[in-house]
Amino acid sequence: MGDFEPTIIAFVCNWCTYTAADLAGTARLGYPPNVRLIRVMCTGMVDPKYVIKAFLEGTDAVLVSGCNPGDCHYINGNYKARRRIKLLKEILPQFGIEDERLRLTWIGASDGIMFAEIMTDMVAQLKGMGPSEAKTAMVI
């Protein structure tokens, strides 16, 4: 398992976490290259289908990350996202997709350092957990 490099699919809000990731990049903060950023206009538009599909395609983790409470540019998209993540966190673990593989964070536009730290920590956690089942198993 030593050379296992996890893949993280991250749905990041344009107004905050995406900007934070950008900031981490321009400030040369260095974070692991395991994350695939998918920029969305708001976490409120992350349909549960996107998350499910990412897992069935074999991602090791999904991160949904948006604006801090009170800061969502569409007023309450992040609160709606939180309910959906809660829902998925009840459903997916019943089928062996561990709770820790689905994460929700609030990372503000100026939190480049926080973004880099969270990525580093998530990768370390996932290396400890090993690859997700869908990576190798045949899922119909």
Partner: protein, 382 residues
């Protein structure tokens, strides 16, 4: 204040007594029609029927162990716009719960309907009902309710209640205008009628039924039935958990699925007008299938089977009322109800939501609070 009355039963004939009651309901001035399970004259089957002529109620049979569809969908069709008169709908408890969920989703309205619920004796699966029913439907139904109410149980010859009904702890109608009680009631002589809403009280007043009281033994009888079903249900949850607790096992569980989507067509609370899985979103480019196949060297066709079921769970599991029509509709005998109820029990508990309990409770995914669910944010440390 709930009111209690009774329907007198003559010669132990429950069907005739209920038919008489339905006739009386239909005679109430502003009730234009009654929706009730009815014998079809051309075949020994029982189907929901909309009756306006009291003479046609001779075939009304809400006690038959037949449950060909969840009639909440019919009630929704009948009430989505004013119809120029009220419909009294005689529904199973799970149909009432599904209808309440549809009303919350603006796919039905309470204004034009009076809900009449009856203690549910349960039903056989479709295929088993065909095996069970003889040429004389009334006689078959009579045999069924007599056995159940006398404590002999519902198992007969080679058929037994569907797993759905064995696991259904909500067999007493909870959110009807009028509830008709059978369990713990001396049904040889009377049926219990209880109002559950002001609308129900008004109807009862106009029906002029003899007053009555809840029999002393009723609550105990009801509790015993619910306890038995709850035990069955909890065992079922455990079996499902063991059978599906990894993606590989879930895939095995669903291996017979051909993506016909009958289960969602039959599901009363699968509310989307057009399911995304039948749109072009899932009519992938041919080259895409080859790409997918290349990834692991093989893909099962049609694709997106587990994707479909997981998405359906995300959409409707908080509203699943456990009616089992999904299992009834599956051409390949997949135990869909068992899987969906097991998942739903978790999602419903997470949001402290019980579908169909009350029209006042908002569907969990349609609302949010600012200060909630703090524990799911973050990556597991402070």
């Amino acid at each position: 204040m709930a009111k209690t009355a009774k329907i007198n039963v003559t010669e132990g004939n429950l069907l005739a007594s209920l038919q008489g009651f339905f006739k009386a309901v239909l005679r109430v001035e502003d009730i234009s029609a009654i929706l009730v399970p009815q014998h079809l004259p051309m075949k020994n089957m029982v189907m929901p029927a909309l009756v306006t002529d009291p003479k046609q109620l001779e075939g009304a049979d809400p006690l038959a162990p037949a449950f060909p569809m969840n009639a909440a969908k019919i009630a929704s069709r009948l009430t989505r716009k004013p119809a120029g008169g009220k419909v009294a709908a005689v529904l199973r408890p799970c149909e009432i719960r599904a209808f309440i969920e549809l009303v919350k989703l603006k796919q039905g309205r309470m204004e034009n309907v009076l809900l009449v619920g009856i203690d549910c004796l349960g039903a056989y699966q479709n295929k088993d009902y065909f095996k069970f029913v003889g040429d004389n439907v009334t006689e078959s139904t009579t045999r069924f309710y007599q056995n159940v109410l006398s404590g002999k149980g519902a198992a007969m010859k080679e058929v037994d209640l569907s797993p759905t009904c064995k696991a259904c702890e909500h067999c007493i109608p909870g959110a009807a205008d009028l509830g008709i009680g059978l369990f713990g009631v001396d049904t040889a002589n009377q049926l219990l009628v209880q109002t559950q809403t002001p609308q129900g009280e008004e109807l009862l007043t106009r029906l002029n039924l003899p007053g009555s009281q809840e029999p002393a033994g009723r609550q105990k009888a009801v509790n015993a039935i619910i306890a038995e079903k709850t035990t069955y249900r909890d065992n079922m949850y455990q079996e499902i958990a063991a059978a599906t607790n990894s993606l590989e096992k879930l895939t095995t569980y669903l291996a017979n699925c051909v993506n016909c989507y009958n289960c969602r067509v039959a599901c009363p609370v699968c509310y989307c007008k057009e399911c995304v899985f039948v749109t072009d979103v899932f009519n992938h480019e041919p080259i895409q299938y080859l790409r997918w196949a290349n990834k692991k060297g093989v893909i099962k066709m049609p694709t997106d089977t587990v994707f479909y079921h997981l998405t359906r769970m995300a959409h409707m599991s908080t509203a699943c009322i456990g009616c089992g029509q999904c299992s009834n509709a599956c051409p390949n005998d997949i135990q869909v109800m068992e899987l969906f109820r097991a998942v739903s029990s978790r999602t419903q508990e997470a949001f402290e939501y019980q579908p169909g309990r009350s029209i006042e409770e908002e569907p969990p995914l349609s609302v949010f609070r600012e200060d909630e669910l703090a524990d799911i944010v973050g990556i597991g440390h402070a």
